[in-house]
């Protein structure tokens, strides 16, 4: 149910999904996914998490029809995973950039546009827009083999968005991107969410997932271990946090006295920003004030 009490529309329905990899002789080699059942709802950003070998990429590839389930059922946008018509409304960014390296950026987007039967003028317009969006417009005439990893990732994202997809599947979307690129990617994901798109992403980078995902599923050994809203899962019910600006030492002593009086265990400290925030702030300030060192190292020893 949604927050408004309306039943939510499931874009992806996975029921009892199992994938067993077999060897040449048909013997079971590994059970990559085991009896997985979950739904992804329209308009949410859903994260699939898990350590290496947990089955998240296998699940994603079964959703796309690249692998066939051993058991179970998948409905994606109301159609079977093996039905190619579903791809009309899907955008997919693979884990690595598996694009054709001999094509230029412009040709890449034109090629994928043709696969969606888009007209010439529509392809051209969409190519221009997307190259601008992912900030590789300056390299539109260069072959992808000359692109950096981050640029290839960006053009990969552009091809995933060529068809204005309703559902976007992103496999490790921020891998290979510098913090700025990573921030851009996350902003873009949030922007797509605002446009009503549904996004499913797999990632190892938990901070990224935490930043953008509404709900997550954590897989381990091919099985679903955790499923729920990120904010609810991370909320610690038996702890209380008090944040304040410009608290004087006297006021701080009073607060501590009150806490002692009630027998509470407490810790008083200055909050720390995360590294991403520090990095982004540094870059921003460096742009504004070039040549200035922002934070000096502490001397390690005195002679």
């Amino acid at each position: 149910m949604s927050t408004t009490g309306q039943p939510r529309e499931a874009v992806i329905e996975i029921r009892n999904l199992t994938k067993i990899y077999r060897d040449f002789w048909g013997r079971k080699k590994v059970r990559a996914v085991n009896a997985l059942s979950l739904d992804v709802y329209k308009g949410e950003v859903f994260g699939l998490l898990g350590p290496n070998g947990s089955g998240k990429t296998t699940t994603l590839k079964m959703l796309l029809g690249l692998l066939f389930p051993t058991e179970g059922e998948i409905k994606i946008l109301g159609q079977s995973a093996s039905d190619v018509r579903k791809n009309e409304r899907i955008g997919y960014l693979p884990e690595e950039s598996y694009l054709y390296r001999f094509l230029t950026g412009e040709e890449t987007l034109d090629f994928y546009g043709r696969l969606f039967n888009m007209s010439g003028s529509e392809r051209k317009q969409r190519t221009d827009d997307l190259l601008k969006l992912v900030k590789v417009e300056h390299a539109r005439k260069r072959q992808l083999k000359e692109y950096s990893k981050g640029m290839t990732r960006r053009i990969g994202l552009a091809q995933a968005l060529i068809n204005h997809p309703d559902l976007i599947l992103l496999d490790e979307p921020t891998s290979g991107l510098d913090p700025l690129g990573s921030r851009d990617m996350k902003d873009l994901i949030l922007d797509l969410k605002k446009q009503g798109k549904t996004i499913v992403m797999c990632s190892h980078l938990l901070a990224d997932v935490q930043d953008v995902c509404d709900r997550i599923a954590i897989l381990y050994g091919g099985e679903l271990k955790v499923l729920g809203r990120v904010d609810e899962l991370l909320k610690s019910q038996n702890q209380t946090q008090v944040l304040s600006d410009q608290l004087s030492p006297a006021a701080q002593a009073e607060v501590e006295a009150v806490l002692k009086k009630h027998g509470a265990k407490y810790q008083v400290d200055h909050p720390t920003a995360n590294l991403e925030e520090l990095f982004l702030r540094t870059v921003q300030e460096s742009k504004e004030r070039p040549g200035r060192r922002l934070i000096a190292d502490e001397p390690t020893s005195k002679t």
């Binding site: 796309l64 690249l66 043709r114």
Partner: protein, 563 residues
């Protein structure tokens, strides 16, 4: 080389194609159904029906735009990976080939043969391997590098991927072939020695049907069958048979559709022959053996002998018979001299011309086969036949592309290359041998023609196991095997192997049609539309449909992510 152009058997070929293709499709469908039911139980029936419906649906929802996008991608890939460099190799070959091909000792027609054969073979053997490699590596590399993931997760049907790949590789091959053929054509014109330039033509023969009369003048054998053979003079190649000189023995050609239009600009009928001479004694050493054309109209009974001619051994000769000619007939001093109009007096009402050939020298023999005498109509420019030969090479290139792409959908690049290469080589060199093993009538007839045996039948000695047994026990192939269960098992396994060989023989493309077109041009003939161009076209179409279906099926049932 046998230039006997037997028309392409369109109806029987189509029936055979339907039989082989239909049987193979049925086998695949049954095996797939059984496998689905075995793995999914009763639910398998529904799944199978759905999959079959989806596959048929893919055929009707092909998008030309997607197919062309994939074809263009294929072309760009090959172009940017420098596949067109093969053209440079060809150019280098042509630059230096002139040093080795020029020989003023050769007769002009042989010089033409050397130059034209060189260019056409260079075209085939340079373009074919390139296209074979590209076709066999395209899809497997796409799967290995996972570029295919970004395509199949778009609305591109796997059928469109197969079609796009085939189209793209075909286009590359055809582009390179066209460029090389154009340069090759100019090169022949420019490099060929001046004395041979006049031989650079395409003769258009009208072939007739050949029958024989024996030395007594009988046109039927003891069983009342029309005589289709003359005398065997012990020559190992039975393709030619002989008539004895100064007897009533005749080789009789019947040409259809003869009218004024077959005459040349001066009103002559051009008869070209390549008769062989066989001498039972030295005879007159100063001249060759005499022969004579005798024109005969079966409707009026008019028989008009023409002047004596000598046999041009190993070269052939062209005789110009004027439309009106004087003929002298009669023996023993009583002669009758009359003038005949070739078309009015000697061609029947339904346009049939009968030409009898007699050997005049006693004790000498004249050898011939059906294509050794033909009416030569207006010659075409060399380029006419050259272009048709290049078209046949292009069609062969398409067949190799279709097979390569199709095979590459279910095995990896190196295996696909090896498999396609083996298919091409076996089709080229071992198909006829396989035909004689399984007792195919066409293959046996061909083997008979070349072996010189009176009769060619399925080889003695049984199959593989039986042959091994006979070798180990030193048993003669004609000796009956001892009866018993071991023999029965051995023969059953051998029969199974022969049946498998039958299927392989039927599946392998008949490259004879493709290679023969090159020989026509090299020997100064036009390439006949039927059988050459038509045969090549039909074989190409016959391979296109199953290759597309096989490729599509293999790619659809395959997990692209699986290693």
């Amino acid at each position: 080389m046998n230039f006997d152009s037997v028309p392409f058997p369109l109806d029987t070929s189509f029936q055979l194609w339907l039989t082989v293709f239909g049987s193979a499709t049925l086998i695949v469908l049954i095996v797939s159904l059984l496998a689905t039911v075995a793995s999914l139980g009763s639910r398998g029936l529904g799944v199978f029906a759905n999959e079959l419906g989806a596959m048929l649906g893919d055929f009707v929802s092909i998008s030309p735009r997607r197919v062309f996008a994939l074809a263009q991608l294929t072309f760009r890939e090959a172009y940017r990976r420098k596949a067109l460099m093969v053209f440079v190799v060809f150019a280098i070959l042509l630059m230096f080939a002139g040093w080795f091909l020029t020989s003023s000792n050769l007769q002009p027609e042989f010089q033409v043969k050397v130059y034209v054969s060189f260019v056409l073979r260079a075209l085939s053997w340079l373009v074919l391997p390139v296209v074979l490699l590209l076709a066999c590596w395209g899809i497997p590399e796409d799967i290995r590098l996972r570029s295919m993931h970004t395509v199949v997760t778009k609305p591109a049907r796997r059928l469109e991927i197969v079609l796009g790949r085939m189209l793209g590789f075909s286009f590359i091959g055809l582009l390179v072939l066209t460029a090389m053929a154009t340069v090759g054509g100019f090169w022949i014109r420019r490099q060929l020695p001046a004395e041979a330039q006049a031989q650079l033509i395409c003769r258009q023969p009208i072939s007739g049907e050949l029958s024989f009369r024996d030395r007594e003048g009988n046109d039927k054998d003891e069983q009342g069958e029309a005589l289709k053979q003359g005398i065997n003079v012990g020559d190992i190649w039975l393709f030619h048979s002989f008539i004895e000189g100064a007897t009533k023995a005749r080789a009789v050609w019947t040409f259809d559709d003869v009218g004024p239009d077959v005459l040349d600009a001066e009103g002559n009928l051009l008869l070209e022959n390549r008769f062989q001479a066989f001498r039972s004694h030295k005879g007159d050493m100063k001249r060759s053996i005499y022969f004579q054309y005798i024109f005969f109209n079966p409707e009026t009974g008019v028989r008009a002998p023409y002047d004596l001619k000598t046999v041009e051994e190993n070269r052939g000769r062209t005789d110009r018979i004027p439309r009106k000619f004087a003929s002298v007939s009669g023996t023993g001093g009583i002669t009758d001299r009359k003038t005949y109009d070739l078309i009015e007096d000697l061609v029947t009402k339904n346009g049939q011309l009968t030409v009898e050939v007699a050997c005049v020298d006693p004790g000498q023999y004249l050898g011939m086969a059906r294509p050794d005498l033909f009416i030569r109509t207006t010659d075409l420019p060399f380029e006419s036949g050259y272009i048709k030969a290049v078209v046949c090479i292009a069609l062969m290139l398409l067949v190799v592309t279709f097979i390569g792409v199709s095979v590459s959908t279910f095995v990896k690049g190196p295996v696909a290359t090896f498999l396609t290469f083996v298919i091409v080589i076996v089709s080229y060199s071992a198909r006829d041998f396989m035909g004689t093993i399984i007792g195919d009538p066409d293959a046996l007839a061909k083997a008979k023609q070349y072996s010189g045996m009176q009769e060619m039948k399925k080889l003695d000695g049984g199959g593989v196991l039986e042959s091994i047994y006979r070798i180990l026990t030193h048993m003669n192939p004609t000796t009956e095997l001892p009866a018993g269960p071991a023999t029965a098992v051995m023969k059953t396994i051998d029969t199974g192997m022969v049946n498998f060989l039958w299927l392989v023989y039927r599946i392998l493309p008949n490259f004879d049609y493709f290679t023969k077109s090159q020989l026509y041009v090299a020997n100064g003939f036009d390439v006949p539309f039927n059988p050459s161009v038509l045969g090549c076209l039909m074989i190409t179409l016959a391979y296109f449909i199953p290759c597309v279906i096989l490729g599509y099926f293999a790619l659809r049932v395959r997990e692209l992510e699986a290693k």
